[in-house]
Symmetry: C2
């Protein structure tokens, strides 16, 4: 149906309402996805629809076979970088999890999953027809996943169904507290039971070193737009050789009249995946990503510094494991909540105060607790953020130690 042009004006000149250059953005899920300069050049060059496919090899006609741009090489280097044998770029980390669940499990099977897993892990299991058995999370304020309990949960599944779970999934770094779980512990348990071990590295791979081989991961899933300086949507699926045949199984369907078949296509990927600009940003940022994970120690130092500075405000407390081993952090901030109750802007006062200081990314309206991420900020930016919080605290008469 024809839509009147005046109704379409809102789609013209689309802008974010702040610029990453002028503002400090603390958005918990955005720090690791900010593009590198190389990625920005690539997105302009490969913006057009299928431009990635200029040199699709006619015979194999598969994204992972394209050599110009160097997609084939990239997939190999990506696998090596993660300490895995094979890698594919898929549309989202959640799709990578779905693919693994779908191809490793049969409907009705269980997957053992940590209680801090992201919602998308649960939904991926449901879409694959699987059930979840949760591994418990310890007490506040640290909320650590009880890693040793994976063994008991695998036993529980065995007792209940007579067979092993389809997989054990651990969220390497969780979205809620930014806790880093020791993947080795779960890798060892899974290996002992012969259960495939899926490590969801959405918040780890691409910002911090991850060695799949070292932690006995059978599958690694990752998120390009979360942690690899890439545009959305990009997910990473990396595999041990032993699972390749199963997870990347080729299509076997055949036309009953035409007899057409598609045996070169990878079934669960639906053939080609991210045939466009986001993939090219992932590739273009890769050299910088390989370097930046080596600087992870310094990123953690900045995070710990900010925790220390924010906790100088009486009543503010970082929750999740201590000391921080990741740049995603979660604070309980009761004093700001008390301020909000008598402020005419209510919970939005904190957003306003930060924004007027050119700081964005803390969820508007929240004051009781909030998350933020310092990944990739310069020291002077981190110090500026600390100072801004102190200034706001002082303005509203909160005590600073």
């Amino acid at each position: 149906m024809k839509i009147p042009q005046e109704r379409l004006n809102k789609y013209r000149n689309l802008r974010r309402d702040f610029s990453e250059e002028d503002y400090v953005n603390l958005q918990p899920i955005q720090r690791g996805g900010a593009l590198t300069e190389e990625a920005m050049k690539a997105i302009i060059e490969f913006g057009d629809g299928y431009s990635t496919c200029d040199w699709c090899p006619p015979k194999s006609a598969r994204l992972d076979m394209i050599e110009n741009p160097p997609i084939k090489d990239f997939y190999n280097d990506l696998a090596e970088f993660l300490g895995m044998d094979t890698a594919r770029v898929v549309t989202r980390c959640r799709e990578a999890m779905f693919i693994a669940f779908r191809m490793l499990g049969a409907p009705g099977d269980y997957v053992v999953i940590d209680g801090l897993a992201h919602y998308s892990s649960y939904i991926a299991a449901e879409l694959a027809g699987l059930r979840v058995k949760e591994v418990p999370v310890g007490c506040p304020p640290e909320h650590r996943v009880d890693l040793e309990a994976y063994a008991a949960k695998i036993e529980e599944v065995k007792a209940e169904t007579g067979r092993l779970p389809a997989a054990a999934l651990l969220t390497h770094v969780d979205y809620q507290y930014g806790n880093v779980s020791d993947a080795k512990v779960v890798g060892k348990i899974a290996q002992d039971y012969g259960v495939p071990f899926i490590l969801n590295c959405a918040y780890s791979a691409g910002v911090m070193p991850v060695d799949g081989r070292g932690v006995s991961a059978d599958v690694i899933t990752g998120s390009g737009h979360k942690s690899w300086a890439a545009s959305a949507p990009t997910g990473i699926l990396a595999l041990r050789k032993s699972l390749e045949e199963k997870v990347l199984k080729r299509a076997s369907i055949q036309g009953d009249l035409t007899n057409r078949n598609f045996v070169s296509k990878e079934l669960a990927l639906l053939g080609c995946t991210v045939m466009g600009a986001p993939l090219l940003t992932l590739i273009a940022s890769f050299p910088e990503v390989v370097e930046r994970v080596e600087r992870w120690g310094e990123e953690v130092q900045k995070a710990r510094f900010l925790v220390g500075e924010l906790e100088r405000i009486q009543g503010v407390r970082q929750i999740g494991e201590r000391p921080k081993r990741h740049t995603l952090m979660h604070f309980e901030t009761d004093p700001f909540f008390r301020v909000s109750q008598s402020h005419k802007r209510k919970g939005y006062f904190l957003y306003d105060e930060l924004r007027s200081r050119k700081i964005v990314g803390i969820q508007p309206g929240l004051t009781k607790h909030f998350k933020l991420n310092t990944y990739g900020l310069a020291w002077n930016q981190v110090k500026y953020v600390a100072g801004a919080f102190h200034e706001i605290a002082e303005k509203y008469g909160l005590e600073i130690k």
Copy 2:
């Protein structure tokens, strides 16, 4: 694992090896995906990872609820534009088909599908656990789908399984010949049997007018990077109201320890889908897309003109329906094949000759038959292409009528 920087140099300064400004690109699947100026601005603005999600509403936390940028409004306008009730942007047209198959069918069900369907339609069915029953394609050179045969095929499924197929899928315009099938015929048959009708508009919606209501489509699938001047990957899933509940069913899985549930999330979409730059290009190009489909008649005229000019070369023949009603066309080109046999560059001579005239997009190496697409080319470009083919034909002594 650390990868040496020298091995990473190939990922720097990624370039296409031609520029769309200097070359005429006839690539059969790329014409409809070239970005508009508005889309190019949007991709730069929203290149960073999750930048689309700056204003994700905390409570619903779903892509289709975001009002800034105007994603929510866009989804509504998109549905209206297609003559449907609800729309979602998903990662690829094939994913839209998978979602429809997965949610409308049960494992083992059949889907009735035209014999010209793209490979991704078959694979989507396989991943959803469905079987295909093909509708026959008529004789060469026109290769028209026998639309009336949908009724017989639905009957066949009923006789064989005792129940109706999960869906009937018609490829509105096929990838092989660019034939336009009369969707109304299949819509009527599907409606009479009470079988959901899925119209795959990867090559139609976004370049030519499509009215889902007028053809009784229950589901429309589309491809942003193929036909909506958007970056890959973007797919479109548009629905009749009556199927919304089924296809966009919410997640029902629940954690057994945490009791967490995710009832706001759309199961088969795995929650949010294209949370990034490609979606913004689709939105930014939309005002122009709404306009451009009105100029479809002129696009077909340009296609027919080129067919006429190429067929002046003795032995060259357009295959698929005649006269053309789409800009994607397929030629048998025996005379060029004869030239290739004694040429030192073999089949690549045609690519070389075209490329030296700044024309790209016909698959390198092909001379016996090839596909091309004139969508969106200016008249002078189409005439230039015709002239170039004549020049090449003359150079190699082929006869021109």
